[in-house]
């Protein structure tokens, strides 16, 4: 069975691997690349491509299971249970607006694109990495 999505890894992003995988599944759901009933790639398939520890994949899938996005069928694999609001939805539009407003404010305050990027990365790391509140 050819997997529906293929994971990528950014080793320098500072974001834990399992979080990157989970995030890519959520992204695929939002964009409609993954639909309810689709099977996620097996740990074996992911690992054969990315050469990462299989436990990492299982951890990512368990995270998604906790969010009720996917569910494991014993002996068969992990399947998508529900989708996420896509780019066209109201929730995303709201976030988009807020982000644009903030960037405009930061630019007006004299921050360069690099400064803004640094702020963004620090915040991302702080929010998404292990062990942080």
């Amino acid at each position: 069975m050819v997997p529906v999505i293929e994971f990528q890894l950014d080793p320098s992003s500072g974001v834990a691997t399992y979080l990157q995988l989970a995030q890519q599944v959520r992204q695929a759901l939002r964009l409609g690349l993954l639909q309810v009933g689709d099977q996620l790639p097996t740990a074996r398939e992911v690992v054969a491509k990315l050469a990462i520890n299989p436990n990492t994949v299982l951890k990512a899938y368990r995270e998604l299971e906790r969010e009720r996005l996917v569910g494991a069928r014993p002996g068969q694999g992990t399947f998508v249970l529900r989708s996420l609001p896509g780019p066209g939805s109201v929730a995303v539009a709201g976030f988009s607006r807020e982000l644009n407003a903030w960037i405009t404010k930061a630019r007006a305050a004299g921050f360069s694109p690099d400064d803004i990027e640094a702020l963004y990365r620090t915040a991302m790391r702080a929010c998404f990495s292990e062990g942080a509140a």
Partner: protein
């Protein structure tokens, strides 16, 4: 069996020189364990003791609950030695058949499957293959045995990046498929952080630390702040590595509690930074208490 390798006060010496000493480890099974350390730290000695190529000078080693050279252990443990020894005049097919001759239950299909997929010519003499292909043959030979534990000594050290990636892909795929435990030594930190969920750091023939990568990353942080206030950090937490400029202190700490000093910013540490810090401070060792820390989200297969 929940312990892949258990050592108690294990030591090995040659004349007056101790290649390994006071090694007490309990490596859990079902994990991919990375064995890191500079050359001469004792990694190869530890692996050779675990597979029965060396006898201990002191202490004891048990693998999957039994001595390394016991018959039940030999059939469940596979080993790929440094430089991946093979018989150069054997063809790839001969080599895999040898796996069958020396190991009952050897799975030819699994062994040759990966090789066929990677395009390794089965009728070529092993001595004429590239380094990466030889590494794959050595891996196929080990994996075809269907081991519960696979030990590898610097398996990707002399391989080009593509061959390295292919080797780790096959290795991880087999781990996913069979749930076997893996212990491999390396000094390439990048491969370790991708593949390992357990880490053993060795230095000067001793164990410097031995813990889950998850626990390690949870407990260590890098804090940055004014040098003048560094005391508040250094007095409360264990500092693994510190670097100071006139104004700024950059500390890699093992936190006993969350860092609350507002003058300092904390960020999580990467496995690379952690390993490098410990390697640069050979006298720093992890307290035994860390091994008892089990994250609530511990993985079990």
């Amino acid at each position: 069996m929940t312990t892949a390798i258990e050592t108690t006060g294990l030591g090995r010496r040659y004349g007056r020189h101790w290649a390994l000493r006071e090694c007490s480890l309990s490596l859990p099974s079902g994990r991919v364990t990375g064995l890191v350390g500079p050359n001469g730290a004792g990694k190869t000695t530890l692996l050779h003791l675990a597979v029965g190529l060396l006898a201990p000078s002191t202490g004891e080693v048990r693998v999957l609950g039994a001595p390394p050279r016991a018959p039940e252990t030999r059939s469940k443990v596979a080993f790929v030695a440094q430089d991946k020894p093979l018989y150069p005049r054997f063809t790839v097919t001969d080599t895999l058949r040898m796996g069958g001759w020396l190991n009952p239950g050897f799975d030819q299909e699994v062994a040759s499957g990966h090789l066929a997929r990677l395009g390794v010519p089965l009728h070529e003499r092993v001595g004429r293959l590239s380094g990466g292909q030889q590494a794959q043959v050595a891996l196929a030979l080990a994996v075809g045995k269907r081991p519960q534990l696979l030990l590898l000594d610097e398996p990707v050290a002399n391989l080009d990046p593509l061959a390295r990636r292919e080797f780790m892909q096959v290795l991880m795929e087999e781990v996913a498929e069979t749930g076997m435990s893996v212990v491999f030594s390396s000094h390439l930190i990048e491969d370790l952080s991708r593949a390992c969920d357990y880490l053993v750091l060795m230095s000067q023939s001793r164990i410097q630390l031995s813990a889950c990568t998850e626990d390690l990353l949870a407990v260590h942080q890098i804090v940055t702040g004014p040098s003048s206030h560094a005391e508040t950090i250094t007095s409360t937490h264990t500092v693994v590595r510190a670097s100071y400029t006139a104004r700024q202190a950059n500390l890699l700490i093992r936190a006993r509690a969350p860092v609350t000093d507002p003058a300092f910013t904390a960020r999580p540490v990467t496995l690379e930074e952690l390993v490098l810090a410990y390697m640069s401070q050979p006298d720093a060792a992890i307290a035994p208490a860390l091994r008892a820390v089990r994250s609530a989200t511990e993985v079990s297969r």
